[in-house]
């Protein structure tokens, strides 16, 4: 079993295709909840959610033994990760099939990236 990061990007704080009206928001949330239920039930869901924007971000680094904090994101770019899922999948085809479901639910492109290793899963 492998793990994959399915992430979606906002461009200059905007997610094209994101719900605008309350009705759209309600339908969007229903699709997302249904998707996450399906992920959960099939043992696919590890973690995920929507993120606050880059303005809410802090970078932490160490310099000469001291902790330095900077306001803002690590990468100064137009695009920022807007949300992600981490999923279990047997292989890329399985991960891509889930990515497609996420695309259908959120109406926005998804980047699929395999995990190399975690503290628990060694490469």
């Amino acid at each position: 079993m492998s793990q994959y990061l399915l992430s979606t990007y906002a461009v200059e704080g905007e997610v094209p295709g994101a719900p605008r009206t309350p009705e759209e928001m309600k339908a969007f949330m229903e699709r997302v909840v249904a998707l996450e239920d399906e992920m959960e039930a099939s043992g696919t869901f590890v973690f995920g959610g929507a993120l606050h924007g880059p303005d809410a971000t802090t970078v932490v680094r160490e310099s000469d033994g001291k902790l330095i904090m900077t306001d803002g994101p690590f990468v100064e770019a137009k695009e920022h990760i807007a949300g992600f899922y981490i999923i279990n999948a047997d292989d890329l085809d399985a991960a891509l099939a889930w990515a497609r479901k996420v695309v259908d639910a959120i109406n926005h492109p998804i980047e699929v990236r395999p995990f190399r290793a975690t503290g628990r899963v060694q490469a």
């Binding site: 047997d90 292989d91 890329l92 085809d93 395999p114 190399r116």
Partner: protein, 435 residues
């Protein structure tokens, strides 16, 4: 790492067998070990052993099986020796205890080799890989071409091609692209990717004489695919399309310039290939599941059926283009249809059709070449010259440029011979490849 396979043209029996066996052996080893690089290394080692043994003892009855068994035994030995290997070795468990002599027929327990090849084709042509990586992997792993041969085919250095292959194989392994024939639901899309890679390889082979071997490689792989997937009419359609195109290769250039279908010496067409291609097309028609490759092959089959350009069944050609456009509505299909229209309704009607699609194909040299031809037939010499010049400016190959230079020269001669009837000797560019 380059295969111990001699360059094309000097292939002996053993080397030919290597090339044939390479794809099968890598495919089976990749399935057993789940790792392409390991599979390639093991097959490479087995070839070294084989090249000594086979030259003295002769080629065994099942060379691919011999290579698979030898390669697997070698790989298992290598794995036992390395630390990483010991882990993998434990995982492989039972498999590792079954190392047997390559000369026996026991290799068959490894399962059907043919399915392994099919799995590897789908892996190499996975849509998650970029197109140039799909092409490189397919030629290297399934075609058995050396890295240097693949590099030369795409005009890049051997080191650049080696890097490309390493990156592609890294992605297959890291992202875990499976070795599997796709499920029914995904099969049409995935097969389309495989077919387009093979057709791209074929067409790359058409672009320059020094890449001619790519064409035979593409035909060989398409043939293998048809054997592996006999129920997929589009695979057969692609094979027929390649064969019918290949049958005319000898006639389509002269003195380094393109010769139009109209002017080709039809006695130089390869009748054997035409017959095979046409038989496949007929079988496809009987199945009644037409698709873009089958329809393109059917169009070529009609061309190959005619004893002369004039004797071509143009209404049939246009009807087939209409059908093709309904399943593949691309501007290039519309272009080819417009060119065929000229032979029924005349150059004026064809020019009107061409003008309606011109904005979409403004950077495509064959669009301007076709406009030039129609304008010339209509006697509009200045406009024709401008069109041919634009085409020559856009043309990528020397053969195309030389052909267009000829057209411009002939236009000047048209001017000198004011008495000459219009719609003279130039033809349509039905020879365009439908991409």
């Amino acid at each position: 790492m380059s295969a111990p396979v001699a360059a094309r043209g000097e292939a002996t029996g053993v080397e030919r067998v290597f090339r044939e066996a390479y794809g099968q052996a890598v495919a089976t080893l990749a399935r057993i070990f789940g790792d392409i690089t390991l599979a390639e290394d093991a097959v490479q080692e087995a070839f070294v052993v084989a090249s000594d043994r086979w030259r003295s003892d002769g080629i065994p009855p099942n060379p691919a099986g011999w290579i698979v068994t030898t390669a697997r035994n070698r790989a298992i030995d290598d794995l036992r020796r390395s630390a990483r290997g010991r882990e993998l070795h434990e995982q492989l468990g039972a498999l590792a205890t079954r190392s047997h002599r390559p000369d026996t027929e026991e290799w068959e327990e490894d399962g059907p080799v043919r399915d392994d090849q099919l799995r590897l084709i789908f892996t190499c042509c996975h849509p998650a890989l970029r197109t140039e990586h799909r092409v490189a992997l397919t030629l290297r792993l399934l075609g058995g071409l050396s890295v240097d041969e693949v590099a030369r085919s795409f005009l890049v250095s051997e080191s650049a091609m080696a890097k490309r292959l390493v990156r592609a194989k890294y992605k297959i392994k890291a992202a875990k692209i499976p070795f599997r024939v796709p499920e029914e639901a995904d099969l049409p899309d995935r097969l389309r990717s495989v077919l387009s890679v093979l057709y791209l390889i074929y067409n790359t082979g058409l672009d320059a004489p020094e890449r001619a071997s790519l064409r035979s490689e593409a035909i060989r792989l398409a043939r293998a695919l048809v054997e592996l997937m006999p129920d997929e009419p589009e695979a057969a359609g692609l094979l027929a399309l390649m064969l019918l195109s290949e049958s005319r290769v000898r006639a389509r250039t002269a003195d380094g310039a393109v010769v139009l279908l109209r002017d080709q010496d039809r006695t130089r067409w390869d009748r054997t290939m035409i017959e095979e291609g046409q038989a496949i097309v007929r079988a496809c028609i009987r199945r009644g599941r037409p698709g873009p490759y089958q329809l393109q092959a059917a169009i070529q089959a009609v061309h190959c059926d005619a004893d002369s350009f004039e004797a071509t069944d143009w209404p049939q050609i246009v009807a087939l283009y209409d059908h093709l456009f309904s399943v593949m509505p691309t501007p290039v299909v519309a272009l080819n249809r417009a060119i065929a229209i000229a032979e029924i309704e005349g150059p004026g009607a064809a020019l009107a059709s061409l003008d309606s699609i011109a904005p979409d194909l403004d950077n495509y040299h064959l669009m301007h070449a076709a406009r030039g031809t129609m304008l010339r037939r209509l006697g509009e010499r200045d406009a024709a010259q401008a069109a041919f010049e634009r085409a020559a400016h856009l043309a990528a190959t020397g053969a195309d440029r030389r052909f267009l230079a000829q057209q411009i020269k002939e236009l000047a001669e048209d001017g000198a011979l004011m008495q000459r009837p219009l719609g003279g000797s130039t033809g349509s560019t039905n020879e365009t490849r439908t991409r």
